[in-house]
């Protein structure tokens, strides 16, 4: 009895292994529909010979071989997932971008082709709004109207989403609207207000844009208030309202709504700045107001807006005129055009203390102390820092020690650390070393540190050292520097709001020292931090230095000096 059970068990498991391999093989093959048939035949042959050696039932292979090698099988395989959606989108965008006018046949053909893909994102329910969304991206009002006419002829009715997207279309092309469109828009808006009592971020966006076309801003503001209770509206809605208020002349409200848009996304649309400049061409104070507002929120402009600014400032009366040009900035902060230095970094003490507290609570301690440290270790660390503070430099022992690689000998590690500590003690004063407990085994480290009378703290091997460095540097004042080659990208993730991120980046760039090379004699070559501020700033002559981005430039992590600036500093 026992023998039979064993045989059954092992035979079943044996077959299961083979079958899993075959099914895995087929599953991977069926997704790749672009395979040529001759390669599949090769592989199927290999599989067959491999399996027949093990005496598996040939019926299984025969069935599955037909799946693998048959050309009909490959054609019947459907596109699924991303392939289907991209295929649908390509069809749509090719259609809309290439033509200005379309007939009913062409719409029919398009829609039949798109809906033939059963496993794509676009459905019967979706397709109306997707067509209009494509029209918004290409800015074609005529095609949008044409599509609604087509729908009426077929007898199809509009959704609430299509109505809101059509209103968005009309807003995008608001300069080329006709009177007939406006009557339609009024009826759409009425219908939406009656049927939908609550508003979503998406539908509310369309409604507000429709109301702005009809110059009914008060109602738009009311609807925004109701929306804010239940959801977070898009930053686009805020900027649209700000633009409308600007055109009426109410500046304070416009700037309020714009600032609430900046909290969500750190960007100001070009239209806002351009309308401001075009309205207040001859008013020097108002132009300065714009730039002050952008200075507070740490925004970089695009090149188009900068060209408009240049033109506007140069056409002012001679008392108030400013002349300048696009230029490049030095490593030390000197401008090519006006030959003056940019302003120094100014960190508010209040904001700095707030940053320090958030770092302690969220990063070092977090939800659970044990994620990063122990409570015993934490107490010891805090006690040593409070005793021996303030420091001038904080050194990351691990980063400095492993500059030559992790496979060097331990003498090398200790020499590197000792030479840096000596250098900074000679030139700067009171350094502070942070390392790990396995560094005690490095030869001559502890003895040399005690001879130089340098304070140090060693962490457990398990816990991370980055938050310790940052906290000790912040605790001992605004003037302390720190030495690593690490960019602290992971620590930024814990800071959530925009202002904290900007502060942290500013502090990091102005207080971090990079080590480029350490000679075997002990000489250390460093890279000084950036001492000037890289924002829109005002000079002594009440001029402006403005950093700008090229058009269609992708915003990456901006490390280092921003080279492209607009200089408006000269009076003639």
């Amino acid at each position: 009895m026992i023998l039979r059970k064993h045989l059954k068990v092992y035979s079943v498991q044996y077959l299961r292994n083979q079958f899993t391999f075959i099914s895995y093989f087929i599953r991977n093959h069926s997704l790749s529909f672009r395979h040529a048939s001759h390669k599949t035949n090769k592989i199927a042959g290999l599989v067959n010979s491999h399996l027949l050696k093990r005496n598996v039932n040939s019926a299984i292979i025969g069935n599955l071989n037909s799946c693998v090698t048959g050309k009909e099988g490959i054609k019947q395989l459907m596109m699924r997932g991303k392939a289907a959606t991209t295929h649908q989108e390509v069809l749509l965008y090719d259609f809309i971008s290439t033509r200005e006018d379309a007939t009913i046949e062409e719409w029919n053909a398009l829609i039949n082709e798109i809906l033939a893909q059963n496993f794509g994102l676009i459905n019967k329910l979706n397709i109306d709004t997707k067509v209009i969304e494509a029209c918004i991206n290409q800015k074609k009002l005529y095609l949008g109207r044409n599509y609604l006419f087509y729908m009426k002829q077929i007898g199809k009715k509009l959704n609430a989403a299509t109505v809101s997207y059509f209103l968005k279309l009309c807003y995008e092309c608001r300069l080329s609207l006709l009177d007939q469109d406006k009557t339609r828009i009024t009826q759409f808006v009425k219908h939406l207000l009656e049927k939908l009592v609550i508003f979503d971020a998406n539908s509310g966006d369309g409604l507000i844009k429709g109301l702005i076309i009809l110059n009914n801003i008060q109602k738009a503001l009311e609807i925004l208030k109701t929306m804010e209770k239940s959801c977070q509206p898009y930053p686009v809605t805020y900027s649209v309202i700000a633009l409308a208020l600007l055109q009426r002349g109410e500046l304070k409200q416009a700037l309020e709504y714009m600032s609430s848009a900046i909290e969500i996304k750190n960007n100001v649309p070009d239209e806002f700045c351009e309308t401001w400049i075009s309205i207040y061409k001859k008013d020097r104070q108002k132009l300065d107001e714009l730039l002050l507002f952008l200075h507070k929120n740490n925004i970089k402009l695009s090149k188009l807006v900068c060209e408009h600014l240049l033109y506007a400032y140069s056409n002012l009366p001679t008392n108030v005129k400013l002349v300048g040009n696009f230029g490049v900035i030095n490593n030390e902060g000197k401008c090519d055009v006006c030959k003056e230095y940019l302003n120094r970094v100014d960190l508010n003490e209040i904001e700095f203390d707030a940053l320090q507290d958030t770092f302690l609570k969220r990063v070092l301690v977090g939800r659970d102390i044990f994620n990063n440290t122990n409570p015993r270790e934490f107490e010891n660390f805090v006690n040593t820092v409070e005793k021996h503070a303030p420091f001038t430099v904080v050194i990351d022992g691990l980063n400095v020690g492993y500059m030559a690689g992790t496979e060097a000998s331990k003498d090398v590690f200790s020499n590197l650390v000792v030479s840096t500590v000596k250098y900074f003690q000679q030139h700067m004063g009171k350094p502070f070393l942070i390392g790990r407990k396995h560094m005690i085994a490095w030869p001559h480290l502890l003895t040399s540190l005690q001879q130089m009378n340098v304070k140090y703290f060693f962490i457990d091997d398990i816990s991370e050292d980055d938050p310790f460095i940052i906290y000790s540097a912040m605790y001992s004042g605004i003037d302390t520097f720190f030495v690593t080659r690490d960019l602290f990208r992971g620590e930024r993730y814990h800071l959530q709001s925009n202002k904290e991120l900007v502060l942290f980046k500013r502090w990091q760039q102005s207080h971090q020292i990079f080590i480029t090379y350490i000679a075997p004699s002990g000489r250390v070559y460093t890279k000084t931090p950036i001492t000037f501020q890289m924002d829109i700033q005002q000079t002594k002559n009440n001029g402006w230095h403005i950093p700008y981005k090229e058009n269609n430039e992708v915003s990456k992590d901006d490390y280092g000096i921003h080279r492209k600036w607009l200089c408006l500093n000269k009076l003639q």
């Binding site: 059970k5 059954k8 068990v9 093989f25 991977n28 790749s32 599989v47 491999h50 039932n57 019926a59 069935n63 037909s66 699924r80 007939t103 009913i104 046949e105 029919n108 829609i111 496993f119 994102l121 676009i122 019967k124 329910l125 979706n126 709004t129 997707k130 969304e133 044409n146 609604l148 006419f149 002829q153 077929i154 007898g155 199809k156 009715k157 509009l158 959704n159 609430a160 989403a161 109505v163 006709l178 007939q180 469109d181 009557t183 339609r184 219908h191 049927k195 609550i198 508003f199 979503d200 539908s203 239940s230 959801c231 977070q232 044990f370 994620n371 992790t406 496979e407 091997d461 398990i462």
Partner: protein, 434 residues
């Protein structure tokens, strides 16, 4: 065709179309042929009554929702409920998010507890993917069945004998066999006996279930399915472990979902043990060892006197060393598997799923080498030894790669060959011996 005739024609056709369903926008080919010569061009914008163009209600999108059954009488919750319904309807109409068609009452309750719209978006996407997967499985099943029938008819040479004749001379898979019919439950009895021995004398393994608050709902369900795979692979092993689930609250959601997957767990016959106690109450502190991927100590040899702990924590996107934190708090030893020594890691995280960990421990306990034990880790995470680092495996070559890797793997299993790599391609540097 004149304008008058065209308008008459359109009126007649519109009457026909009103009887046809409005959702379908496919028109017969005859109409297209007829209208080829007379294509319409838009000259003016439509005016007039437009309210007839717009739909009145949303009800044809989804099934009706019982708000009272889900929420009750809370006025605030009813508001959020209506807002969520609106969001979902507009997403279906605009294609903004991926949204499923059917949502059950439990899923509605989970949606209500979420704070942001982003969390709702991720959860709805997960439900959408689940639905589509089930649809595809049904379609593939039907296709496979059809292919099987076609191949069956092609096979010639076998005379078709009816089942009613009861001839004992047919030895096929679907007919009479040599062996008696052995059910799965009989095989499992054989394994449960060994687990009963393990409960009294033998090797124990602890699974720590206290990470429920740190996991999202999808991760919880993944964790529970991994526990069911552990249970099934354990009881068919040669010398199974005694699995103990510690820190398991009976009234929590962990238990509810476990009960759905393994419904016999709360019966006295079941050999999967669970307790509300802490593992420090069951075993002394010196014996316990916690397995984490976040430490630096590597497990050199399996110790039969130690009791190993596996944390039932699935983290797919975050980097919090929660299991390490727990071990530090309790003052336990900590180890990890030496993956970098014996495998060439290509892609993916080294946080292994629970069923792979347990099967590796089972093999180590029986005295296997590390190369044999680490065969449970899938091939997609490992590098093939033949190709260089720089060469990216294209789609056409990936099948050959998988075949070669599987061949190597089976050589280890059945021929007990050692897995050796030539020095030319040994570009991966092992970790330092610290």
């Amino acid at each position: 065709m004149n304008i008058i005739n065209r308008s008459l024609f359109l009126k007649c056709f519109s009457i026909i179309l009103k009887n046809v369903s409005t959702h379908s926008c496919r028109i017969s080919t005859n109409f297209i042929k007829f209208q080829k010569n007379h294509s319409t061009k838009v000259i003016s914008v439509v005016t007039g009554d437009i309210t007839s163009e717009i739909k009145d209600e949303f009800d044809d999108i989804r099934e009706p929702v019982d708000i009272e059954a889900i929420v009750g009488d809370d006025s605030e919750k009813i508001k959020t409920m209506k807002y969520i319904i609106l969001e979902i309807d507009i997403c279906k109409q605009s294609g903004q998010w991926l949204v499923p068609e059917k949502i059950t009452t439990e899923q509605w309750r989970e949606l209500l507890n979420m704070e942001n719209s982003r969390k709702r978006e991720h959860y709805l996407k997960y439900l959408y993917i689940k639905e589509k997967r089930k649809m595809l499985m049904k379609i593939n099943k039907i296709k496979k069945h059809e292919m099987y029938i076609e191949a069956k008819e092609k096979r010639s040479g076998m005379e078709k004998i009816e089942k009613t004749t009861n001839s004992p001379m047919l030895y096929n898979l679907s007919n009479v066999t040599l062996f008696n019919r052995i059910l799965d439950s009989r095989i499992f009895l054989f394994g449960h006996y060994k687990i009963a021995l393990a409960m009294m004398f033998g090797p124990h393994i602890v699974i720590d279930c206290s990470y429920e608050e740190l996991m999202t709902l999808t991760e919880l369900s993944h964790c529970i399915h991994q526990i069911s795979y552990m249970w099934s692979s354990n009881r068919l092993a040669a010398n199974p472990f005694n699995m103990i689930l510690c820190n398991l609250n009976i009234q929590s959601e962990f238990m509810k979902q476990l009960h759905q997957v393994i419904p016999t767990i709360q019966k006295p016959d079941c050999f999967l043990n669970f307790t509300e106690k802490h593992y420090l109450d069951l075993f002394p502190k010196e014996k316990l060892v916690y397995l984490t991927p976040h430490c630096k100590n590597e497990l050199v040899k399996y110790n039969h006197d130690d009791v190993y702990i596996i944390g039932a924590f699935v983290d797919e996107k975050r980097d919090i060393p929660a299991s390490l934190a727990k071990a530090k708090r309790d003052g336990l030893r900590v180890t990890k598997f030496p993956l970098d020594k014996y495998l060439y890691w290509y892609k993916g995280s080294q946080h292994l799923p629970l069923n792979q960990v347990l099967s590796i421990m089972n093999d180590l306990k029986d005295g296997a080498s590390w190369q044999y034990a680490l065969r449970h880790i899938p091939i997609r995470k490992q590098k093939c030894c033949v190709f260089d680092n720089d060469m990216k495996a294209k789609k056409n070559d990936r099948l050959l790669l998988t075949y070669i890797r599987e061949q190597n793997r089976q050589d280890i299993l059945f021929n007990s060959k050692t897995f050796r790599i030539s020095e030319k391609y040994d570009t991966n540097k092992t970790s330092g011996e610290q």
